[in-house]
Symmetry: C2
Subunit: 545 residues, 2 copies
């Protein structure tokens, strides 16, 4: 790992970043530091260390095994206190950070103080303050929490937030407790998570990235240092890290969940809208989170938002029609992902209550190119300006994303033409989907499992759904990469250059990926988020049954 790129910059950058890192590291108390013996020798899979490190009591370890829905239930029943819960997750988060560099801010004291108030409320009133009473929620760095640090992925937009953003204000009102913020990549624009705070690692295999841009969340939740966190996604940033870390995550239909005042540097960009949603440890948790948020009617607060019910339809009386897309006609996923999808297909095909159909990707390459063009309509000018203002050097994936072929500066007419192409593509795609007549499509969440650091350059398996604004959820299959099973075929007839490039990433050394979780993605049409969650319950049950 010595060859990995380290974020650098000019003298001012170096000094400021040093101060930032001292602030972060000193926020973790000595009592929660891993022993030198553990730090001297730990395995590539660090997910077992919290149990072994001796820093958490057995009851704290037991609490951190719970999902968010159970945590809320136990607190509401009076069987757990909010202070106990945030303490347990907070301690485990400290351990997680020392092994994966997943955090950007750590403030367990504040979390405990907030939890104490909630416990007092519960004692005094005999009821919870809201549906998420006492639930510790980890927050991606660019979502402001009053009085805490936040950034848009550049040193130049690092700030001490004066106010909560809508998301954290609403979560707070629902009873959530804040205690950590999590890492994201430079400019929040990569499917990995290396920023001026450092590089976040995948806890299942430190050779790999947790994905991004919500990769701090991915690593933290996989380490069980949080049971639920908030990510954001404009090209795969919730789904890639959820998939790579073996957790659950949903990118809802855009403009249904509050993103107001998230720290960002392309405000007013209407080409592809940012979405935001939960990353968590059970399918139920996704519904719990989205339904709690929707119950506050966030569209009344933010006129950008569209009211949507996240209630799950009853599927017991109908036959679900599931499309299966094995690849996108440009890049075939690595053998582990294809194995999991094939297994899922076999089980689903044998199930009585659903119908499985082949789903051929419809012009995904065209849509993906449009998405990339819309990600940087100014040709990357603003990205480069943000770097310059912080004296920050561009990282390999930042250089790649701002240097892509379709990226150029646009004038007004070119912007209209681009957005018109987007609209035409969406229409043609919708016609195609309607013709196939699927309820949902099961597909890879990425062109493989978690990738090696600095190599995640193919976003199409997630970005295509952002372009279309179709909600997508990922879930772990329970399978992991096993190079002995997931063999490289003796000869490979690549679909093209991009496929060959992706193929080599795995074929050159499959052993690197050992132990990486294998996940799948389920997608529904725009506004069918409730159907998506209901279908996920059915499908996950069969796939894991």
């Amino acid at each position: 790992m010595a060859s990995l790129t380290i974020p650098t910059g000019d003298t001012t950058y170096t000094e400021k970043v040093q101060a930032v890192k001292i602030r972060l590291e000193s926020s973790i108390p000595a009592s929660l530091r891993l022993s030198s013996s553990i730090l001297a020798d730990f395995p590539l899979d660090v997910t077992g260390i919290p149990q072994l490190c001796g820093l958490l009591t057995s009851s704290e370890l037991a609490i951190t095994e719970l999902d968010a829905t159970t945590v809320c239930k136990r607190i509401a029943e009076g069987n757990l206190s909010a202070v106990e819960v945030v303490t347990a997750f907070g301690k485990r988060a400290a351990v997680a950070h020392q092994l994966t560099q997943c955090l950007t801010d750590y403030f367990l004291d504040e979390g405990i103080a907030q939890a104490q108030e909630l416990d007092e409320y519960y004692k005094r009133e005999g009821k919870v303050i809201g549906p998420l009473h006492g639930l510790p929620v980890s927050i991606k760095d660019h979502m402001p929490i009053k009085g805490r640090w936040g950034s848009g992925g550049f040193l130049s937009n690092l700030e001490l937030s004066k106010e909560d953003c809508d998301m954290t204000a609403i979560l707070r009102q629902l009873g959530a407790v804040f205690y950590v913020k999590t890492n994201q990549p430079q400019g929040i624009f990569a499917l990995e998570s290396t920023s001026f705070y450092g590089r976040t690692l995948n806890p299942h295999n430190l050779h790999l990235t947790p994905g991004g841009s919500s990769g701090g969340e991915g690593a933290l939740i996989a380490m069980k240092g949080s049971c639920i966190g908030v990510g954001s996604d404009v090209g795969g940033s919730i789904r890639a890290p959820s998939a790579h870390c073996g957790i659950y995550g949903i990118c809802p239909t855009a403009l249904t969940m509050p993103t107001h005042d998230y720290i960002w540097y392309q405000n007013g960009q209407d080409g592809v809208h940012l979405s935001t949603g939960p990353m968590c440890r059970s399918a139920q948790d996704m519904a719990t989170f989205l339904q709690a948020l929707a119950s506050t009617e966030p569209h009344l607060l933010d006129p950008k938002l569209i009211p949507l019910s996240f209630d799950l339809p009853d599927l017991s009386q109908r036959k679900l029609r599931v499309g299966i897309m094995t690849h996108d006609q440009t890049v075939v996923p690595h053998p582990p992902t294809s194995r999991a999808l094939q297994l899922a297909r076999e089980k689903l095909s044998a199930a009585p209550n659903l119908e499985v159909v082949d789903y051929q990707a419809y012009d995904h390459a065209v849509g993906y190119a449009l998405a990339h063009e819309m990600y940087m309509e100014d040709g990357g000018k603003t990205f480069r300006r943000m770097l310059k203002e912080g004296g920050e050097d561009i990282l390999p994936l930042g250089g790649w994303v701002t240097g892509l072929q379709p990226i150029k500066d646009h004038d007004a007419i070119e912007m209209w033409q681009l957005h018109d192409k987007r609209d035409s593509f969406r229409r043609a795609y919708s016609d195609y989907w309607n013709k196939i007549g699927c309820d949902v499509v099961l597909c890879p969440p990425f062109a493989g499992t978690a990738s090696r650091h600095d190599t995640a350059k193919y976003w199409s398996y997630t970005a295509i759904w952002n372009l279309l604004d179709y909600p997508g959820a990922v879930f772990p299959t329970g399978l992991k990469v096993d190079p002995a099973i997931d063999e490289v075929p003796p000869s490979y007839a690549a679909l093209g250059d991009k496929d060959l490039e992706n193929y080599k990433l795995y074929a050159d050394d499959p052993s690197v990926f050992k132990g990486a979780p294998i996940s799948l993605q389920l997608v529904a049409k725009r506004f069918n988020d409730g159907l998506l969650l209901a279908a996920l319950n059915v499908i996950e049950g069969i796939v894991k049954g």
Copy 2:
């Protein structure tokens, strides 16, 4: 009226336009031509001529008095045939056109043939084909009907349409019958309706414009040559002509009704979205139309659309809170509009079932400037190119709208900044509205009643709601301009230059406006279209009671 601008162009333009006009005029059969005695001498208010001209039978005249909801009901009950209905409205439309130049295409034969099929279906099946079975619907020129002419307001985008657009396809599927298309202004970008087809006049007072851009619809429906038509609105284009012509019209929340394939030259423009909706003869007709359209779930066909229910909430158990905005702090409406609003305020204040509050306009001038800047993000380049391609000269209001101060060509970053300002304005406005806590706001639909030709340069009373995407409906108060009552005050303390300019338009000669209908506008927050319609029923009842 001899001094009015006449659309002109180069030789090719002149030849083509001559052919277009011959095609249009020759489509009206000799049997429906007004007699030379009527044409030689008719009053400024031509709305009475259909009764006097002798071209319609008394039963035809009776049919044309009906609103759309009643037409549908009578046909469904078997008390009227579709052929009878379209024949009556078609004959009256021919009369209307000869007096106001409201049409761009006339095809009563096709309408009768379509109606015959519907009558046969009804006879054969014993039921209607859909909720709009047999309803004649007039269609604004830029909405394609298969096999008919359509344009985006320029000679250069005049076309014979190969297919229905979504709107007309859905209407057809619901049982609607097409027989005419209606005029709009050059580039569909003015609050009046003068195109290469000619200048549409206000049937209540030929000295005045019917408004625009859906002014052909306004004039036609006011003449009862149609009971319901489809308009489109990005700055007031449904509401201004509805107000000026004394009919009903609603600009629903954008992206809830189908606009796909409307002929346009700024596709991909995301700054302010075009809306589309009915113009008609009763408040009930607006609900009938919107609910019928929504029942087809148009968002399944067009992925741009947002599903929305247009059901009316029950207001009988609650006290409606109505804000009244007398002016927008920049331009005070002319005396007739202020009189109607003052009368409405008095009646509403005396009503037991609602609460009336003052509503001060919140930064409307800022929002209006943003709207204008977004209407022509390319600085008018495309508008001028469209003119050039057709050899068409720019008309006074086209010259004005493309020459406004805030209009300039934008690059990508400037586009983002502009849209970000829009988002910030929307948020601040929503916060303000929430603080006042109104259900709806009653306000002027325009800075006066119908304006004199080529003078409608102040769009803010409607455009501000497009910028905010708040649905707005206009309704006639039943009052008309009476220069004897609507006197000019002896001295006038103008709010500023714009106010003075608007004031003079009336004060210079109030007698010009005699007989113009006085209408009001009711507005609700985004997505509250059902509430808006329900509140309109309550308020209209009181105002006219």
